[in-house]
Amino acid sequence: MLSMSDETNPLMMLVWILPIILFVFYGQHIQLLVTSGEIKKGIKKLDGFRANSKKELIDYVKNNISSINDPTKKIEQFLDYFTIMPVDMDPTGIVDKVRHTVRSREEYTRNHVKSISSELSEIEISRIQTLLEISSSLQMIYKIVNHMFLTAKKQKNYPLILPVQMMLPFLMEHATAMNASIPAFKLGQPLGDGIGPMVVGKMMLNSEKEIISFQTALAKIEYKNRKLFLLKAEGPGSTVGRPDDALQKIVDTNKIDAVIMIDAALKMEGEDSASVARGFGAAIGGIGTEKFQIEHITTQNKIPVFSIVVKQSVKEAITLMTKEIADQADNVRSQVYEMILENTVEGESIVVIGVGNTAGVLQ
């Protein structure tokens, strides 16, 4: 008897063939629709972060300065300021150009903040400056992601949306961390990144301090017949100081035999937070100009650079210091002394640099 099995049934064939045709011709559109939904959620979150950071900044300025007019307009003007990085077709001298551009921007921001009110203290200026940078960065991230999304949607171009989809989780991690860092900056609390200044700050206590370069403190102490030059950003304001300029000044007038840098480092996935690691080379983040300068000085003078890092996530680095990280301070300090004894002999001079934001950390 002749029977129509599933394979020869015209209706069943349609059920199979129709989706194939649909996916062949409209696959990219379907993928675009699915991906768009995820990206839209991300953009909505980014918009929320942007609005929240702006609100927090304006509230902070209004609550802390009594005798000023509404600062909203001035702050809004600043949020859209951009920085054009120098052209890198001919890389010779690019570091100096980048340093000049970045420092000019910092200087401009500081002057802009100062212009809000004359009654602002240096600590308040540094806090507002940091909050402005956070707000400005969140605004920039939102604008870029939104632009890429809208362009892909307008062109109905699925491949254009792929880079956004790939980068979004990382951008969201950074943006969430920046948004979460606002309360700590407002209250002047120490951050995870402040572990370097915390370690060196304690070593500096009860010794005479001087300001050696912009927002950077220096103390000279003796340790087991060795001369230690202790450097950290000048606390308790929210600043990272200029350790590269400070090192240059020290090296110009002293013979230095070793440099030890203490910093927070991004942990890899699977690594324990607040774990301590030792290594070689300049442990300093940022845009790279300070690292370049420190490497240049130490190479020219044949000074070995040792480093101790405390591992942490992006969020831990820029939000209130966790208990695990704070508990490592004494351990790191003893490792610094150990490193000094292992790598230098009596009569030698060592520069110890506590790298990072010194918010809430005195010296």
């Binding site: 209250l187 700050g201 209130l320 208990k323």
Partner: protein, 60 residues
Amino acid sequence: MIFSKEKTILAYTVEKCPKCKKFHKRDFSEGDILFTNSSKCNFCDGITTIDKIFGTVLKK
């Protein structure tokens, strides 16, 4: 969200008495700065200094 837990960060300040070496943990208050003098020691007549400031996560 159904599966996400709301996280609150509680900030604490740990004071250390340089005289009797005892620690005292209290809630963070605005103006607390690491290594500054804080309050009178509860155990002796020393003046405590702020030794640590940190946050712990409270999951709801």
